[in-house]
Symmetry: C2
Subunit: 531 residues, 2 copies
C-alpha cells in the first residue's frame, strides 16, 4: 500500500537513496516502511510542473476547482480504515481522534468547494466609466482576486490530516487557484503518502493538469530551503514551531523577490480568571481546564498554557481543584519521542525556575512517550521578570500566574507576545469592570473567548486562527475558515477591458450571479435575492 | 508661516540643531526656510504618544473618525493658496498640478470618511451558536477588522500632497484606527509642515487624542530606521524607490516581531502594441504616448517606460511619429536637482548600452533641472540579454523594444519583474488572438489597461495600485482606493461574547445597519435595503 516514494505530479518517484523512517510512539519503535527522500532534481521537477500547471489551473472556473476539492474529499474517504490505521501508527493518537480529524479535513475541503461554487469570494468590485466627467473622463475599472502561483505547504506534526497534506493550507491554496507542493511532515510520511494518493486520484479524475499537486519527502533543511527559495514558488504556508516558521519567513524575506509566508507558530493561549465567576463556579472551571490542558496530550496549538488569576481564596481553591482533577486523568501518548523529549526538557526547565511551585505533576507509572501532565504556579512579579516562564511547553502543561491587582494583570498581559487565543472567565459584570484587562488581551490575540476553553477551533467563516506574532507571521490572515484563501490571492484590476473578454466574475451581465460591489453599492448574489 | 519644526503630537518642537533646507528646482536654488531634524528623544516621544493615542483612538466609532478625516480635508482647503505656493517652490511642479493634486488628496480623505460613516468595511462575519449540534455544540463566533497600531508613513517625492503627509497611506491608516507618524519627505518639508498643521488642527477640533498624528523631519537613515525598528510601530507605508522600500522591508522583516510593510516602489509599466490596432491608429497612439511619457516630466510611478511591439512597418511609423511628437513638447522641470541628476545618469547609461538606438532626445536649449525627454529603441533579443535595459529611469523616458514574434513578446513579458500596470494597445480580436501575451502580462502586473495610457490613477474601490514585487512589497494589497485600509487591520474573532459588550458592528441587532455575513449569508447594509 505504502510505496515510500514522492509524488512528483502524478508519478510516484524515488530516484534518491536517503531513507527515512517514521516512528510509532505507542509501541516505542520505528515503523517498517522505508521512505525515500526527494532528490534536488525531483524537487526541481515538482516546481517546474507546478509552474506549468498554474498557467492552466489559475483560469479554471470555480465549479471546476470545486469538483476537484470535492473529489479529494471523496478519495480520502475511499481510503477507508487503512489511512486511519497508518495515522495511528505514525502519531500515537487514538483512532477516534483520527476519524474526527478526517471529518474535519473533509469538511474543510467541502467548505472551500462550496465557496468556489457560490463564487462571490473573489471580491468583485466594479466602477463603471463616466465618459463625460469633468475635467477628465472616468475610466471603467473592475477588480477581483487572482491566484499568486505555486504554494509550498509545510504541515504540522499534531494534525496529520487537518493541518497537513490535504489540510487547510492545501485546500485553501487549491481553492485560490494555486498549485501546491507539500513537504510531507517527517513524523507521518506514510499517512501523507496515502492522502497524497487521494489528491492525485482526484486530480486525475477531474481533469486537473499534472503538477497541480506534489508531495515531497525530506528531512533536514534542504527540501524546505530549496522550495522557499525557488523563484517559481510564490507563497508559503507553515504550521509548527516558532523556530521553523521564522526560518522560512526569513528565507522568504531575503529572496530577491520576497514572497508571503503565513506561518502559524507558537502560542500559550492565556486564560484570565476573574474572581466573581471563579468563586461561583470553581469546580466547573477546574474540571474544564484539567480536561482542556490534557486534551490530545496537550498537543494543540490552542492549549491553555498560561492561566492568570488574582490572589484570593477562590484562586487557591481553583488551583487545588485543578491539581486534583488533572491528576485523575490518565496520561496519553505524545506524537513522537522527540516531542516527548522536548516536553520533558521544557517542563523541567520551567519547573526549576526561581519561585516556581509545582502544584501538579503526574507521578504514576507511565509508558514511554506518554506525557506526565504538569501544572506550575508562580507570582506575576516573577513571571514578568523571567522571560523563560512564558516559553511554550508543547504538551499537557500549564502555568498558573498569581497577580496582586488588576493593574498587574494588565501589565502582565501587555508583556506577552502575540497569541492565537485569549480567554476570559468572568461574569458579564466583570467583563465590563475589567475593561483594561479585556482591552490588553484584545491587543495580543487573534480570538477572544468568553467563558470557555481555547481548545476546539471551529471551522467557519468567523474563525480567526492566527494572531499577532509569533502566533502567526502575519496577523492579517487566518489559517482556518474560508477566509484562509485570502493568503494566496492578490487583487488585479482591469481598465476599460472589453466586456466579452473579462473574466465571468466581472462581466456586465454577472453570469455567475455572484455578490459584487458596483459603483460603491453592494449587490447580493443572485442566489440570495428573494423574488 | 513655516516654523521649520517637528509636530510631536500637537506640539511644534525643535530641540535639535541639525538643519535641513529644501530646494526650488525652477529657480535652481535653496529655499529660505530652515528645518530642524527631529532628535532621538523627539522620535521616541512621538512613538510613545502614538502608542498612547492608539489605546483610545482604536475604539472610536467610524462616525467619529470620519469627522476627523473630513476635518483634515477642510483644514487643508483652509490653508488656501499658501500651501500651493510652497508646494510649487519645493517641487518645481506647476500650480495647476498642485491644485489638482490637492483635490485628489481631499477626495481621498472624504472617500475614507464616507467608508467609515457607512461602516460595512470592517467585514463583519457572524456564525451563531448551535448548542444542540452533535457530537459537539457549535460556539458563537463573530469576526471583524481591528487596527494594527501606530503606522510609520514615508511619503513620495512626486506627490507632495496625495502620496505624502496626508496622502493615501495616512488617510487609510487613520481610517483603520491607527495613529500615524509621518517622516516628512526631505524634498518638501515646508509643504509637509503646513499639511501637518492642518491634520493637527483637525485632530484638536474633533477631539482626537494627542499623538494620533506626528510629523518628523530627518535626513539620512536615522529617523526611518528608528521608526521601523521601534517595537511600538506596528506597520509601515512607503512610496518611493526600490532601494528605499527594500531597505525598510528588510528592517521590518528582521525585527524580533516582524511587521507588515507596504512599499510601492519601481515600475516601468510595459505597454504592448499589437499590429492591427497600431496600423489603424498610428498617429493617435504616438500622440497619446508622447504626452503620457512627458506628463509631469515623466515623474509618475505609472509612466510608460517600456513599449513593446512587433517588427513591422507600422511599428516603424509609430516610432517615427512618437519621436516627432515627443520632441514638440516643451521639457519641464523635475522635482529636485538630485532627481535630474539621476535622470541624466539613467538615461545616459541606457543610451550607451549595446545595440541601443536613440530615436528621440530633446536637444534644444534647456533650463537647469529640466529633463530632456528621451526615447530609445532596441531589439528584444538584446533587451532579454541585458538586465540594465529594464531598469527604471525616473523621468520622461521610454524604451521601445522590437520583437520578432508573438513568442518572443511573451518571453519578454515573462522576463520582466512585477509592475504596477501593463497596457495592451489592440483591437478586440487581437486581444483574443494574443491570449498568451495577455496572460503573461496579467501575471506581471497589478492593473491591466486596454487601449489607454497607464498614467492617471483613478481613486476608486476597483483600483489596484500595487502589484507583484518590486511594484509593491506585497501584491495582496493596494495603495489607492478605500481597500487600501486593509493594509493596516487584522481580523479578530469573539467567541461566545455577551451581546451587550460586543462592538456595535457585531451585535445581534446590527445597530449600525452595516452589511454583514451571517451564517454564510451576506446581508446588505440597511441603507441599501429597498423597502
Amino acid at each position: 500500500m505504502i510505496t515510500g516514494k514522492n509524488y512528483i505530479g502524478n508519478h510516484l518517484v524515488a530516484s534518491g537513496s536517503k531513507i527515512l523512517k517514521t516512528f510509532n510512539p505507542e509501541l516505542n519503535q520505528e515503523n517498517d516502511w522505508n521512505f525515500i527522500e526527494a532528490t534536488t532534481e525531483e524537487i526541481e521537477k515538482a516546481v517546474q510542473l507546478a509552474h506549468k500547471a498554474y498557467q492552466e489551473y489559475k483560469n479554471f472556473s470555480g465549479k471546476k476547482k470545486a469538483l476537484f476539492l470535492n473529489a479529494i474529499a471523496d478519495e480520502i474517504l475511499a481510503l477507508g480504515d487503512t489511512v486511519l490505521e497508518i495515522y495511528v501508527k505514525e502519531s500515537g493518537l487514538p483512532k477516534g481522534r483520527a476519524e474526527g480529524e478526517r471529518g474535519r479535513t473533509i469538511g474543510q475541503l467541502r467548505a472551500f468547494a462550496q465557496m468556489l461554487e457560490e463564487g462571490s469570494w473573489v471580491e468583485a468590485t466594479i466602477d463603471t466609466a463616466v465618459p463625460d466627467r469633468q475635467p477628465l473622463p472616468k475610466v471603467d475599472l473592475r477588480k477581483m482576486l487572482y491566484p499568486l502561483g505555486p504554494v509550498a505547504v509545510f504541515g504540522s506534526s499534531n494534525f496529520p490530516f487537518a493541518f497537513s497534506t490535504a489540510g487547510g493550507d492545501t485546500a485553501s491554496a487549491l481553492a485560490a487557484g494555486c498549485p501546491v507542493i507539500v513537504k510531507s511532515h517527517s513524523m507521518h510520511i506514510g499517512t501523507g503518502e496515502l492522502i497524497a494518493s487521494a489528491v492525485i486520484k482526484a486530480a486525475q479524475k477531474t481533469g486537473m493538469p499534472e503538477g497541480v499537486f506534489s508531495n515531497l519527502i525530506g528531512s533536514g533543511i534542504n527540501l524546505g530551503t530549496t522550495l522557499v527559495k525557488h523563484p517559481l514558488i510564490k507563497a508559503v504556508g507553515f504550521t509548527g514551531s516558532i523556530i521553523g516558521g521564522r526560518t522560512l519567513f526569513n528565507l522568504a524575506a531575503e529572496r530577491p523577490e520576497p514572497i508571503p509566508v503565513f506561518a502559524e507558530m507558537g502560542s500559550i493561549n492565556p486564560v484570565v480568571l476573574l474572581p466573581s465567576e471563579l468563586k461561583k463556579n470553581t469546580s466547573f472551571w477546574a474540571k474544564q481546564y484539567a480536561s482542556s490542558i490534557t486534551l490530545g496530550a496537550g498537543q494543540f496549538c490552542t492549549n491553555p498554557g498560561l492561566i492568570i488569576g488574582l490572589e484570593s481564596p477562590e484562586l487557591n481553591s481553583f488551583a487545588s481543584e485543578l491539581a486534583s482533577e488533572i491528576l485523575q486523568i490518565a496520561p496519553s501518548c505524545m506524537l513522537h519521542y522527540s516531542i516527548k523529549k522536548n516536553y520533558n526538557e521544557g517542563q523541567q526547565e520551567l519547573s526549576l525556575q526561581k519561585e516556581v511551585e509545582i502544584i501538579a505533576i503526574y507521578d504514576g507509572k507511565i509508558q514511554p512517550n506518554y506525557a506526565p501532565q504538569t501544572v506550575l504556579r508562580v507570582n506575576a512579579t516573577e513571571f514578568l521578570k523571567n522571560k523563560t516562564l512564558s516559553h511554550e511547553v508543547f504538551g499537557p502543561f500549564s502555568i498558573l500566574v498569581i497577580c496582586k491587582s488588576k493593574e498587574e494583570m494588565t501589565t502582565l498581559i501587555n508583556s506577552l507576545e502575540g497569541q492565537l487565543t485569549g480567554t476570559i472567565i468572568a461574569d458579564s459584570e466583570e467583563l465590563n469592570s475589567y475593561r483594561e484587562v479585556v482591552e490588553a488581551l484584545k491587543g495580543r490575540v487573534g480570538r477572544l473567548i468568553f467563558n470557555g476553553v481555547p481548545t476546539g477551533v471551529e471551522v467557519c467563516a468567523s474563525m480567526l486562527h492566527g494572531g499577532p506574532y509569533p502566533a502567526s507571521s502575519d496577523s492579517r490572515f487566518t489559517a482556518v475558515g474560508i477566509h484562509a484563501v485570502k493568503r494566496w490571492v492578490r487583487p488585479i484590476s482591469y481598465q476599460n477591458w472589453p466586456n466579452e473578454l473579462l473574466p465571468e466574475e466581472l462581466k456586465d451581465e454577472n453570469p455567475l450571479g455572484i455578490a459584487r460591489t458596483v459603483n460603491d453599492k453592494l449587490e447580493l448574489a443572485t442566489a440570495f435575492i428573494t423574488v
